[in-house]
């Protein structure tokens, strides 16, 4: 409370300070970029930036849907499993019906499972943590039942060339991530659905009393989250040309880390796609930079854990709820 809103609130300096504090993830991102640029000559190159954006885009697309659900005050643990199913269907069905119908059905599987998650949450009143924890276990089972423990191979490798479109160094995958992020930021800030998302997450009783159809609303957001997970799975299948049954395992955790790192709160009612983009990029820069520095794998895992706790502590110190 004290740092941000004491009596200097009017001066331009404190305005800037407040802006920085509220978007501390971007400050942190800038710092990591500077540190890695100074410590590795390969980091700040056009190619590597392109790589970072592509690598980050996969978690990023998951994170967009997760942000919608989280602002609602819910959580979706099943995105990793949905991703694996969509990727398996998109590749496995190609033999039977051709590329695009298979991709479409992959997408639909994600939408359907998201819809199922949302419906179960809305109708039963169970916590989404439980519903999607069940989904995480069961949908992974579906993937194994479908693929029979084998990695599915794409029949025609021209499939892997579909996302090989570049705008300068920026891949189609990365462009898609940014396009989706901007679109859903627009949804959040400029549409009725977006305003309702904040309202529901902030105070579900009040939102209900204000005439918002809370159940339908939540179902829509879970469906969005499932569909985006399927988009991510299909892009992954295009990138790899195979669909592994274990694809996307614990990606839901990385996704939650990215979103929370950005500053969106688990309690709901607060967050934005700008924050999530910041969190996703920070995560991607950290992973990429640490690898360029040839650090062993364990350092990456430990740094992620440390940064996440640090982000929480910072968030607690700088932005108490109701202070924004």
């Amino acid at each position: 409370m004290s740092v941000v809103t004491d009596n200097r609130a009017g001066s331009p300096l404190s305005g800037l300070l407040r802006l920085l504090l509220r978007n501390h993830i971007w400050v942190f991102l800038a710092l990591t970029v500077i540190v890695f640029s100074l410590s590795s000559p390969y980091f700040l190159t056009v190619n590597n930036i392109g790589n970072i954006l592509t690598q980050g885009a996969f978690i990023g697309i998951l994170a967009i849907g997760m942000t919608m659900v989280m602002i609602d005050g819910e959580i979706d643990l099943s995105v990793g499993a949905i991703l694996a199913l969509a990727s398996a269907l998109a590749i496995g069905l190609q033999d039977h019906m051709g590329v695009w119908p298979a991709v479409f059905l992959g997408l639909m599987s994600g939408a359907a499972l998201g819809f199922l998650n949302g419906t179960l949450v809305a109708l039963s009143g169970m916590h989404s943590f439980i519903v999607t924890l069940g989904g995480l276990i069961g949908i992974r089972g579906l993937v194994f039942v479908y693929s029979g423990e084998n990695a599915l191979m794409v029949p025609d490798f021209s499939y892997t060339e579909i996302p090989e479109i570049y705008l300068g160094p920026i891949s189609l995958t990365a462009m898609l991530f940014f396009a989706l992020a901007f679109f859903f930021q627009w949804v959040l800030s400029s549409t009725r659905h977006g305003r309702e998302t904040y309202a529901v997450g902030d105070n579900i009783e009040a939102a209900h009393d204000a005439g918002i159809n809370v159940k339908r609303h939540k179902i829509i957001n879970f469906t969005i989250c499932g569909t985006l997970a399927a988009v991510c799975g299909i892009l992954l299948s295009m990138r790899l040309g195979t669909a592994e049954p274990n694809a996307g395992k614990i990606w839901e955790l990385w996704t939650i880390i990215a979103v929370v790192l950005g500053g969106t709160r688990l309690q709901g009612g607060f967050g934005s796609m700008w924050m999530t983009i910041g969190g996703v990029l920070t995560l991607a820069v950290l992973r990429n930079g640490l690898r360029l520095l040839n650090t062993p794998n364990y350092v990456e895992l430990m740094v992620m854990g440390g940064v996440l706790v640090l982000a929480l502590v910072l968030d607690k110190l700088l932005n108490h709820k109701g202070d924004t």
Partner: protein, 317 residues
């Protein structure tokens, strides 16, 4: 009158459903309800069960612990590695102390710093997995003298016809149940989970209560690691991966509320055993291994929904 039926359902509905399931499998698979098979299942669930006991304490305070899977890996690696270096007795002591310390660290961050438990333990999941790779250098560790050491008793031994891990698990359950029901600490756990503000106004220090709940969780994970190390006589770097979800699934299946304040040890024992018997029963019926995951999904949703519906008095929210 509707109240009593609801009460009955609420208290014993889960047990009834479980018995119906057991009966259904027993009719179709002769080997299911034999003593040998039941002991096998209990032996399998003793590790997740032991962890679930501690996690129940945490969940009862309204918090989560996602770090127990990575913690299990780390502690198993420690007990196996130190067994070769310092001998079985010291290895066990070290493992338990490490478990207590890790639990205390979680407890410090959640209880005293007041951070969100899901994120903190998620961060610990990542951090501890890194620590595992750091400690082991990425290679698997094995117990050198697997045949001679008395350490094997925890995972492989029998006492009075019962497997030792099952005895350890059941004793742990009795102690944990006693602590929750009959000690001040146990009542405080329920108090903090039920209504934290009210508990603070009643003079309970919620911070310490949460702290000790995590310490218990670390301790039970330490015990589970000893069983695991003794059973496998080695430790891979991913040996505990995903265990946090199985454990949570068991706790939730038992009907312990994630909001805290409602649940019990015997519910967790039932929930985690159910997962074990479902897995075993489906395998005996000839289903592929991963079909159990689909069934687990359905069972979690249905069990929790019925439990919630009974408490609420109607099915839909």
């Amino acid at each position: 009158m509707g109240q009593t039926i609801n009460g009955l359902l609420r208290r014993h509905g889960l047990l009834l459903a479980f018995l119906v399931f057991l009966g259904g499998v027993a009719v179709n698979a002769d080997a299911f309800l034999t003593l040998g098979n039941i002991l096998d299942v209990l032996r399998q669930v003793s590790i997740t069960g032991m962890m679930a006991l501690g996690v129940t304490f945490v969940v009862l305070t309204g918090r989560l612990d996602l770090s127990v899977g990575s913690m299990l890996t780390l502690l198993t690696v420690i007990v196996v590695d130190q067994h070769n270096v310092a001998g079985p007795f010291l290895a066990i002591v070290m493992t338990l102390l490490a478990g207590l310390a890790l639990g205390a660290f979680n407890g410090l961050l959640v209880g005293f710093v007041g951070l969100n438990s899901l994120i903190v333990t998620l961060a610990m999941l990542s951090f501890l997995q890194g620590l595992v790779l750091f400690y082991s250098g990425g290679s698997n560790v094995n117990i050198a003298n697997a045949q001679e050491t008395w350490f094997k008793v925890f995972g492989r031994g029998d006492f009075l016809g019962l497997p030792v891990p099952v005895i350890v698990f059941l004793m742990g359950a009795v102690i944990a149940g006693f602590v929750l029901q009959f000690t001040t600490f146990g009542r405080r756990i329920y108090g903090v989970g039920g209504n934290e503000t009210a508990s603070i106004f009643s003079g309970i220090d919620a911070r310490w209560t949460v702290f000790w709940a995590y310490v218990v969780s670390g301790l039970t994970t330490g015990v589970a690691a000893i069983i695991m190390g003794s059973r496998v006589m080695g430790a891979q770097n991913t040996i505990g991966q995903g265990y946090e979800l199985t454990v949570l699934a068991g706790v939730i299946l038992g009907g312990t509320s994630l909001l805290g304040g409602s649940g019990s040890i015997w519910r967790t024992v039932i929930g985690i055993s159910m997962l074990g018997f479902i897995q075993n029963g489906l395998l005996l019926l000839g289903f592929a291994y991963y079909v159990q995951w689909l069934v687990t999904w359905a069972v979690i949703i249905i069990a929790v929904w019925i439990d919630l519906g009974a408490k609420r008095g109607r099915i839909f929210a």
